[in-house]
Symmetry: C5
Subunit: 253 residues, 5 copies
Amino acid sequence: MDIATIIGVVGGLALIGVAIGPAQLVYFVSVPSFLLVVGGAAAALFVNYPLSDVIAMINVMKKTLLYKVQSPKEVIPQLVEYASTARKDGILALQSVSKQGDDPFLNKGLQLAIDGAEPQTILKILETEVEYIRERHRIGAEMAQTFGTYLPAFGMIGTLVGLVLMLQNLDDPSSIGPSMAIALITTFYGALLANLVFLPMAGKLKKRSADETLVKELLTEGIVSIASGDNPRIIEQKLHVFLLPKLRESQFD
Amino acid sequence: MDIATIIGVVGGLALIGVAIGPAQLVYFVSVPSFLLVVGGAAAALFVNYPLSDVIAMINVMKKTLLYKVQSPKEVIPQLVEYASTARKDGILALQSVSKQGDDPFLNKGLQLAIDGAEPQTILKILETEVEYIRERHRIGAEMAQTFGTYLPAFGMIGTLVGLVLMLQNLDDPSSIGPSMAIALITTFYGALLANLVFLPMAGKLKKRSADETLVKELLTEGIVSIASGDNPRIIEQKLHVFLLPKLRESQFD
Amino acid sequence: MDIATIIGVVGGLALIGVAIGPAQLVYFVSVPSFLLVVGGAAAALFVNYPLSDVIAMINVMKKTLLYKVQSPKEVIPQLVEYASTARKDGILALQSVSKQGDDPFLNKGLQLAIDGAEPQTILKILETEVEYIRERHRIGAEMAQTFGTYLPAFGMIGTLVGLVLMLQNLDDPSSIGPSMAIALITTFYGALLANLVFLPMAGKLKKRSADETLVKELLTEGIVSIASGDNPRIIEQKLHVFLLPKLRESQFD
Amino acid sequence: MDIATIIGVVGGLALIGVAIGPAQLVYFVSVPSFLLVVGGAAAALFVNYPLSDVIAMINVMKKTLLYKVQSPKEVIPQLVEYASTARKDGILALQSVSKQGDDPFLNKGLQLAIDGAEPQTILKILETEVEYIRERHRIGAEMAQTFGTYLPAFGMIGTLVGLVLMLQNLDDPSSIGPSMAIALITTFYGALLANLVFLPMAGKLKKRSADETLVKELLTEGIVSIASGDNPRIIEQKLHVFLLPKLRESQFD
Amino acid sequence: MDIATIIGVVGGLALIGVAIGPAQLVYFVSVPSFLLVVGGAAAALFVNYPLSDVIAMINVMKKTLLYKVQSPKEVIPQLVEYASTARKDGILALQSVSKQGDDPFLNKGLQLAIDGAEPQTILKILETEVEYIRERHRIGAEMAQTFGTYLPAFGMIGTLVGLVLMLQNLDDPSSIGPSMAIALITTFYGALLANLVFLPMAGKLKKRSADETLVKELLTEGIVSIASGDNPRIIEQKLHVFLLPKLRESQFD
């Protein structure tokens, strides 16, 4: 569960709520304004992406909140152990491991190695796989970013609508202030949703994708080294570059 | 038929229409303002692109609405079948297939393989073809994007025109509000057309191009593998990286 | 003669003139404002580019209006014919052609082939030539773009000047409106010149450069293939990727 | 200690303080406004980055203030000396050096050379290490940049809140001025913190990273040359390209 | 001496001075406003760059005004002459030339060739040198650009300060106009300094760097060809691609 996202969104809204003050919160609640901004930006998103992709976005955003990425620190000792096993008992000894594991990427790679594929072939297949994973992530992050770009645009469009209506009805001077306040609320909604929710969420999706593909690259490097029959000690040294120096703990020292 | 585009544009306009309210919609209808914004942006587009390209854009935009892209999921079994046929009966057995097919790209690639061209040569010819398809798509999307960039600029130019005229005729205070409302309408038109229609449409053209060239890359990979006489099972594994893991269904399991 | 550019600029100005209305056009004519915006942006351009380059820009802009690019469709049959001649009568038979032609790039390439240079050498020389042509075009387009960026900036500077002067002289309330109208005219000039003339012209220069270098790349591919003694039929197939599929007409069918 | 950062922040604030004048500074102090801007941008940062990364940022920013990078000018003679020792007494003679040194990157590289690793292997390991160092730096700078982008956004959001509240309470005309002044303070905070602190700090983090990785690249070049048994004089010449010509002092002249 | 820079800055300022009119120039002179904008942007620059780099910037800017770049047209015949000498009398005959020349880059390259270094080695050393020259130039241009980005930001900060002070002191209506005029002057300073001086100067530094590194690349190509013992006629043809076709004058025709 991604606590930071929830802390950020809830905390940010609470902060602004406190700054406004409970007695005046009512001035900032307008269902039609909210519908105009969110609905307009959603309409633009429908024009911008195929229907199936828009639906897929909901899954992507759930993933942001619930996602748990493997840590390179946990993966390295496991790979080094596999390498030791393969060195000692032959690569076929990894057969049982590749069935048990719960990471389909690792299993696929090990299975290729067990089946006797050339290291170069394994490298190419796994690299292509990582590339397409990265591409699917990129589209998810891009969609959140795009939504975060249309939101302030429709906020401004809503304010223009409000201003035009107000300017056409200037008869009652006492209504000018509140009319303009209402006109500004769409801009407020657009700016808040974009800057507190969707643009930062796009940022987190990018970061998560980078973390995940880093682990996948590490796995690729490790599997190819195992398939090449490298020394486990050298494999560990190769994989340690993926870690901060202070996190590197050798199993051989 | 691309339903999402129509839902988006019609839904977005309806939403804004409802927010304005039917009684006041008349304040937002101004043919001269519309002509200024759309005509001005169109004039800029004429300066920006050769005449023939501007005309071609209309076809590009029709394509956005009517386009139907092949799914990688449908194409893979077909390629695997061709590979099996080629393995069993020789590559010449694909002759009949390459005449029937309705995808000229696939036909061209198969024909090259049947004619005995080297896999490297086929790869180079098909890759160049994909590159130029991508380039033609890119120009279409860029043109929609450019139009979507000029629209708000001419919206602002229209508002400046309206403001200058209003400021030069301040004698009648009661006309200031409506004059300014009219001045703002061009900005409203520019922002709405850009953010609801042309910028999202540029986005969809990019997405469509990516989908189409992905299938073309998959076809290239498959045809080159067939020409190289690869094992159908290995070809399937190579092509499956183009699919989401959960969509991968092997014909050999 | 590039009709689209003229249609665009003249049509765009006419449209805005009609929107303003002939009786009020006088409000938008201000020689000092025009000099401030154009002169200021020109001064910035002088700081931004060496004197010789600024002068060269005038030629570049003329080229935009008068330029006529060769079509790939015309060039391909010509190259295929040369290839046939070279195959039949030897490469020296192209000697007469390379003297007659009016395209110095093609002549240079053919001359290199006739002189017996290695295909790799010809490729490298012609590619470097194309690269520097692209670079010279890029600078021309960049200069138009830069000018189109400074214009609205000096439009805003002019408006700031007008606002400060107006705010320092508020004694006569009736002059406030017209003063502010005049202040806004520089912003209007800057936005109009940038968005109707210079930014689109930069776009057209880029498009033209792409078209021209595409033909040069096609010529390079063709000349290198001729020098390599390739089969004319294969050369045609290689060059056809530069064309839209529907424009491809083989001379051999 | 990075004096320029402190001079910049303190000097910039002092300058603005003097411009405001001590008697009026009180108008610019508003704890709720400050909390809204900084808290809102911090909330967005929490949504944008994993919790652990946000905490790591504090270390990154301390590093900006306290960091001391090695100068290429100091490192080159040291490497040349090692090269001479390795040439004269064999590469094992560097054993003692590689234990003493306080730069773990240099020690690691020398140890690899002493252990007899191939120059190509050393190059690959050290290059990967430099790449990941650069990546970790990049994320730190990106985070400061992101914070500097959210700050003005929440400044604007705060001003919108203030404007809406003011427009809803126009009864007392004498309070309009001060209310609007207070509304503008959040924009002021956002602009000042972004442009005086966080955006420039992101710039410095990038510069520092470039300086540090340059030294690491120089060390890599030097270690690989030592492992290859190159002539010390040639090593010096290779490494001098990392220095400004006027700083190059040969030990051999 | 770079006349265009001086013409640009002086001419631009004169133009704006004339537009304001001598009697009203006094409204635009405000030492505190100037200090706020320039001092604030300078403070941000100190945070953004190490102290030593900020000082180095002054030299970079002097260079912009005083710099004189060699023309490719002058350099080519010289290189062709050296090539002829090397062909006729052996490469050692260039010894005297490499001592006399006043271009340290050319001398270094020739010396390497005379010392018998491999063409590939010379190419690598000179290319690295050019790369670092380009990098040092890039930082200079980036710094001018960064300063030109902070200037309008601090112009806006100054205007916010002025607006807040004005809104807190609305008692005297007659002072509102002049107060606001003064508030706008910082925006005017920021926009003018950025768009007339620092952003264009960054552009010129980039252009100059491109011109200088082009000549250095030409020299590299020439020196490597001389070291390879190429035919002077072929060297000339290789180097001519760096020139506009109409400037190419062969010494052999």
